[in-house]
């Protein structure tokens, strides 16, 4: 599978994403934001971090990076796009996903382990999970409070576009005030996913959790099925 991770100025999780893909045996490449084509790629990852310092609004400047025009074209033609944290914010800014972000309730940055419920396991990104499974994937953001209007929310719910919700365990719950406890959503077509938690930080026991691994394996599984089907 040909995987590209876009590096914007100010990105900080791009190397972590590369390493996570390497752990499942892939050989991903970094794409500099000033490039203009993602031709030939099977998956584009928009990583976390502070693209352009998150000045103005998180993701609002990165969406104008030269590479984004082709990422949008790629997504619209059915290509897989995965935005994590700042990547999710960029996806809402460029209109590939609905909604927007506010500062966390409490107005503080939060870095902590977090429980999520897998709400939709019928996607290229989540097929290795069981629906309803609780997984622990850390969050790390200051502006992860997802918001959307009533109509938009209803559409997300009706189309089964809510992929992950924040859930309660002993201490955690909705950490940031997100509407309907939303932690991750997918577009209507199911090929563009945005999520605030960081699955690339949950791929090894030694760093605290392995619950994120299935996302990487899901994508590979989906890809194998597709490429075999296509052959």
């Amino acid at each position: 599978m040909k995987i590209g991770v876009v590096r914007f100025p100010g990105s900080s999780c791009e190397v972590d994403c590369l390493e996570a893909w390497r752990l499942v045996g892939e050989d991903p490449v970094m794409i500099w934001h000033q490039e203009t084509s993602v031709k030939g790629f099977d998956l584009i990852v928009l990583p976390g971090g502070f693209s352009y310092g998150n000045y103005l609004r998180p993701g609002s400047i990165a969406r104008y990076s030269p590479i984004m025009e082709d990422v949008i074209r790629f997504a619209k033609s059915g290509g897989l796009v995965w935005g994590i944290s700042n990547g999710f914010q960029i996806l809402t800014e460029c209109g590939l996903l609905p909604g927007a972000f506010l500062r966390n309730v409490g107005l503080r940055y939060i870095c902590a382990p977090q429980y999520l419920r897998v709400e939709n396991s019928d996607l290229p990104f989540t097929n290795q999970y069981e629906k309803g499974r609780l997984i622990q994937i850390p969050i790390s953001h200051g502006e992860g409070n997802y918001t959307i209007d009533d109509e938009g929310l209803k559409r997300l719910q009706d189309n089964n576009q809510i992929v992950f919700r924040y859930v309660n365990t002993d201490t955690s719950g909705n950490p940031n005030g997100s509407r309907d406890n939303i932690a991750g959503i997918v577009n209507k077509e199911g090929n563009v996913l945005g999520m605030m938690p960081h699955p690339e930080r949950a791929v090894e026991e030694i760093i605290g959790s392995v619950d994120g691994r299935e996302m990487f394996l899901s994508i590979l599984k989906h890809w194998e099925g597709r490429s075999q089907g296509g052959a």
């Binding site: 100025p9 972590d16 502070f50 870095c111 902590a112 850390p138 760093i207």
Partner: protein, 728 residues
């Protein structure tokens, strides 16, 4: 020249005379300004130098000792760790967010300047009690500043320490430590050599912020003190600068590189020339400025952030420009290296300053300040503590101690720091020391910051020893071997003999412990004049220590995880009341005579823990520090209770007495025999305490049940105290 001019810049009359003599003429305004910052305590170490000379700085592991932007130690496999700690106390007192943020930015530059990629930041913070609104405001602002800068630049903030004490009212301490990884071949230095090589300013433009910041850092804070504009940090700019600098260093085009920190262009250019035994000539009109009409004086003294001075090989200027342009940054040739030993400054071709470089650096005055034992020392030392008894039930004392902000969990703070980015954080904040794996190897590095300033106040020499011992214990408790330290020496006004005495004594203690534990000092920072309205902070020689784990798989936790783990105490059961949290809290007394630690014995115990871990005998380890054995056990039993039986001893001294050199370890049942044998072989006092069991912490002393608390009662207190205070 009017004396008012140099006096306002912080120079004494004697110092001005010295300048005239060194120059052989009357200096102009700009030249006096340059001398004043270079001879400030912050840049010249004029007071501390004679004392710092006594630190051990050498060892086979040391690749770079004091004198550079950061120290470097070898960790094998051709890899090395660069690290350094620095204070940003006064800016943080004035503007906590920007003060702390730029503290982080500055220390990161010190590390990537050496060619190392920063992998972690730690912060050592001291505030007045949180019962006062201003201290809450300062804590909130400082934590936000660290979070805002560190998170944005994408380097994990993985640890540190925080204490609250009234001596820090109005003068908080904000010390930041950065750690970087590099290959031996990439070590870069702050030298200007090679006549004709260009001198380039890179990164942010120069503005009027922070002019005379170094001088401000070297005076007491008072109500009238006019602080300069505290510098504003731009982590995005710094991230670009970091990536560009590391890329450039790897290209091999760099002869020398230095951060423009305190005293900006002045200190970077003169220090680089001084180390290179060369001169530097600069045309100041070429320096990219953010504001119009900046004078040579303002350009030379600006402390605008996120700038570096680079000397590349002649002919490779274009390469430098291209690397920086790729990251959207400017790189501008502003001068060249000469061989005449002068710092020569021109403004549109007109000579505006010409100073022998060595006059600014090596010829700076050195003061041997008078030193005098303060009156309080003997008085507190001789305070009788024999009749002190347990004031309340042991349960209530434990709950009170564990919910005091200094001891309670710092989760409210570190939750605001991205401690995971980089996905190398193996032991996150909350452990005894932070642990980061070194990718591509089986190794990990451990790091911690420590200093109990109450001990240092009561006995600066012993307190200095204990600061290093505590750091080493924390490193050993995660399974790592202590390698070296950096320090940040925070004291009051050294012109007062009793403060200078504290400084001398504490440094002697630090030196002694570093020799005994084989952890040389590789650099650091001195922050004097930490006083508000004539009141000095407690003497606080902060220690930042680095350790190495050869095998990442052998990292130790500090908490029990399942029933049936066997608990052992390494060391004595009883501690001392002198300087203890118990005494401070329940007797409102900070007094007593601290016993001099037996460093040989402590080293032996630490080596025993390392050996036991190497043999795979240990599950967890936690050192006994503030609050004593009961607090240590409570912290270890946050997830799983324990039943402890201590055969004999005074209840108060066993439960809440403090004495460093004691560590509690947990061992699997089947490994106990091997552990006991090893202890005998190494002549280690090892006592079986009990085992993990149930959901309560139960402690018997001398056959008497004296404490039985459900962890459902102390865990929430431990975890929520600071959050409740800060958020209500």
């Amino acid at each position: 020249m009017e004396p008012k001019i140099w006096r306002d810049m912080g120079l004494s009359d004697d110092e001005y005379q010295r300048i005239e003599k060194l120059m052989g003429r009357e200096p102009n305004f700009l030249e006096v300004g340059i001398f004043s910052v270079m001879w400030s305590e912050h840049c010249s170490y004029k007071t501390s130098k004679p004392v710092l000379k006594k630190f051990p700085t050498e060892g086979p592991q040391v690749l770079q000792g004091p004198g550079e932007n950061a120290g470097i130690v070898d960790i094998g496999d051709d890899l090395a760790v660069a690290f350094k700690m620095e204070s940003h106390n006064h800016p943080s007192a004035v503007e906590p967010y920007q003060g702390a943020a730029t503290g982080v930015g500055g220390i990161l530059r010190d590390v990537f300047t050496m060619g190392a990629r920063p992998v972690a930041v730690l912060n050592s913070l001291r505030f007045g009690p949180l019962t006062e609104e201003n201290n809450k405001y300062l804590l909130d602002g400082v934590v936000s500043g660290i979070s805002g800068y560190g998170n944005s630049i994408g380097i994990p903030t993985v640890g540190g320490d925080v204490y609250f004490h009234s001596s820090y009212n109005g003068n908080p301490l904000v010390n930041a430590m950065a750690i970087g990884l590099l290959e031996h071949k990439d070590i870069a230095k702050g030298v200007a050599t090679g006549v004709g090589n260009p001198v380039m300013v890179v990164g942010a433009k120069t503005g009027r912020d922070g002019i005379h910041g170094a001088t401000f850092a070297s005076v007491e804070l008072s109500e009238e003190a006019q602080p300069p504009a505290v510098q504003a940090g731009d982590p995005f700019m710094e991230k670009l600068l970091m990536e560009a600098c590391l890329e450039l260093i790897q290209s091999g085009a760099v002869v020398g590189i230095q951060d423009m920190g305190a005293a900006g262009l002045t200190s970077s250019s003169s220090e680089m020339a001084s180390r290179g035994n060369s001169g530097i000539e600069m045309e100041l009109s070429l320096v990219p400025c953010r504001e119009t009409g900046m004078t040579p004086y303002e350009i030379m003294l600006s402390e605008s952030q996120e700038r570096m001075l680079i000397v590349p090989q002649a002919g490779r200027e274009k390469e430098v420009e291209e690397v920086f342009a790729r990251w959207g940054l400017e790189a501008t040739v502003v001068g060249r290296v000469t061989d005449d030993g002068m710092l020569r400054l021109l403004e549109k071709g007109r000579l505006v300053a010409e100073i022998p470089v060595k006059a600014l650096t090596d010829e700076a005055p050195v003061y041997h300040r008078p030193s005098q034992e303060p009156d309080y020392y003997q008085k507190l030392k001789n305070t009788k503590l024999e009749n002190i008894e347990l004031k309340d039930s042991a349960e209530n004392v434990l709950l009170a101690l564990i919910s005091s902000p200094t001891i309670a969990s710092k989760e409210w703070i570190y939750r605001q720091y991205d401690y995971q980015v980089g996905t190398n954080t193996v032991v996150a904040p909350g452990g005894d020391a932070a642990v980061l794996r070194v990718r591509g190897t089986s190794k990990a590095i451990a790091m911690t910051t420590d200093c109990n300033s109450r001990y240092v106040y009561l006995d600066p020499y012993i307190g200095g020893i204990l600061a290093v011992v505590e750091a080493a214990q924390n490193i050993v408790c995660v399974g790592a071997k202590p390698l070296a330290i950096t320090d940040c020496l925070n004291f009051g006004n050294p012109e007062r003999p009793e403060i200078f005495w504290q400084f001398e004594q504490a440094c002697a203690g630090v030196a002694e412990a570093c020799r005994a534990l084989n952890t040389p000092v590789t650099g650091g920072n001195v922050s004097l004049y930490n006083e508000t309205l004539g009141q000095a902070v407690y003497p606080t020689p902060m220690i930042g220590m680095i350790g190495l784990l050869e095998d990442l798989g052998q990292v130790l936790k500090n908490q029990l995880s399942s029933e049936g783990e066997q608990l052992y105490l390494v060391g004595e059961a009883e501690g001392e009341l002198a300087g203890s949290e118990y005494l401070a809290r329940f007797e409102q007394l900070e007094a007593g005579s601290l016993p001099e630690p037996d460093l040989k014995e402590i080293k032996k115990r630490l080596d025993f823990i390392l050996e036991g871990n190497k043999q795979g005998l240990l599950l967890a380890a936690h050192d006994i520090s503030e609050g004593g054995l009961a607090v240590c056990l409570a912290e270890m039993t946050i997830n799983c209770g324990a039943e402890i039986d201590i055969k004999s001893g005074n209840e108060l001294k066993v439960l809440f007495g403090e004495r460093l050199g004691r560590i509690i370890i947990s061992v699997a049942k089947e490994k106990t025999a091997a552990l006991e044998t090893l202890a005998q072989k190494c002549h280690i006092p090892l006592t079986h305490l009990g085992s993990s069991k149930g959901k309560n912490l139960r402690i018997k002393v001398g056959g008497q049940e004296c404490l039985d608390v459900p962890l459902s009662q102390y865990r929430p207190l431990y975890e929520s105290t600071i959050r409740k205070i800060m958020e209500g």
